[in-house]
Symmetry: C2
Subunit: 257 residues, 2 copies
């Protein structure tokens, strides 16, 4: 097994570049940080390009890494450099970005979450993880939403990208196609003139749109929905965090929760 | 008005120290960053020790600052230093820490959130903000929970500390006292043997305990509750983020949401 001890090593430089959208797009790969995510990728039969681990992590996990995957032992310093954090667990994988095209006109069932310009990577990743827990079939990232494979989003998704569809798409097209296919499309608004989310019966087939932290949903999208839903605020808080609002709506709207 | 241009200024050093628990405890004050929070503190008639703002922010907001509050014009560099971030809005206030003792044996009504060793400051602040939005009367920070007045918690609370009670307390004492006073005390567990949260009727008088991100609630606390509640997970996610789980439970349990 190759041992890599320097941040100047060309492979290390390439892995560090995967923290940027440009680096990921050029390589068509992204990084997983920590055994939990690597294990999820193994279970999901993701396409591995490399596994990199410190001596201790490699000793513990190499037996579980699929045969034929190039393995590299790295120093603690290299681990910190690749992770971009000071306390990485010390095991990473480089795997292929999903190469999926998905035509919403073929979507006839399931619960779908549509993210309209959600900017904070922690919010985006948490929304995907919560959609997974609520039994959603997929999450569609509209233009302006944080990239699904950036390190902070990947960390917050906690492996949920392997459990449901994670797609990029034009949310106007999605809203039109799902509506045409008979799925109700619910928007969310911070506006008491919208309908209370409590009035919607739980269902297994619908779409929910959550919008930008500051501006909310785009007006064009809000005009296309079956209904726009509102979470009544009882106290003096002006609004809810978008991931909290999304979580409350998803668990209330999806049948079975 | 004094103008402060150097990070070496003794006042600047003192403000920067308020980012630490030690600094806050010694000074009995904490920092607010951004006009939204300063305005909330004015509305709440908090005790101000100082307002610090860049030239532009001072010109815009000084007329709204209460009379008699010492005001300091600061440079952009000083603003970044005090904020500990690179893009502060440029207006701050130093205000008194609340000086409250609160005996839970006098609590006979309202909805209360108890935080058992929640470590991530973003989660803690978001939970307080969500409790505010759900109409809760107070949040009790148990030992091991992130400090309510650390910069990241203050940012995530978005001023909700001025809308409800934010207290430190011994959660075992709180659970005992509330139970003795006839309020149901609900725990939360990631355990299908617990009761589904859907089976609890919404109410205006109860306590909800949420526990540590990794370990959940302490066993000793879980043994004291009226019931421990469980959010059924439909997909393959192993768990929910603690702030999301808390948000779903608070909005489901509190009458009126």
């Amino acid at each position: 097994m190759d041992r890599i001890l320097s941040n100047q090593n060309s492979r290390v430089k390439a892995w560090a570049k995967l923290a940027t959208k440009k680096g990921r797009t050029e390589n068509k790969t992204y990084l997983l940080d920590g055994w939990h995510l690597v294990e999820e990728a193994i279970k999901a039969q993701a396409k591995f390009h490399a596994v990199m681990a410190t001596e201790a992590q490699m000793a513990q996990h190499l037996p579980d890494v699929p045969h034929g995957v190039p393995a590299f032992e790295i120093s603690e310093e290299v681990a910190k450099h690749i992770a971009g954090t000071n306390t990485p667990q010390g095991i990473f994988a480089e795997i292929s970005l999903p190469d999926k095209t998905f035509d919403p006109s073929y979507v006839h069932d399931g619960a779908w979450l549509l993210l309209d310009k959600i900017q904070d990577p922690g919010n985006v990743g948490t929304l995907v993880r919560t959609a997974d827990a609520a039994g959603f079939k997929g999450v569609v990232f509209g233009e302006g939403t944080a990239d699904a494979y950036s390190p902070k989003v990947v960390r917050a998704m906690q492996g949920s990208q392997f459990h449901l569809e994670v797609l990029n798409g034009d949310l106007n097209e999605w809203a039109d196609a799902l509506t045409a296919n008979g799925l109700p499309v619910y928007g969310s608004q911070l506006d008491e003139s919208a309908q209370s989310y409590r009035q919607v019966q739980p269902s297994t087939q619908f779409a929910l749109i959550v919008g930008n932290e500051g501006q909310g949903m785009a007006d064009e999208l809000a005009a296309k929905t079956t209904a726009n839903l509102y979470i009544p605020i009882q106290g003096q808080a002006e609004s809810l965090n978008v991931a909290i609002a999304g979580g409350i709506l998803m668990f209330s709207l999806a049948a079975g929760n």
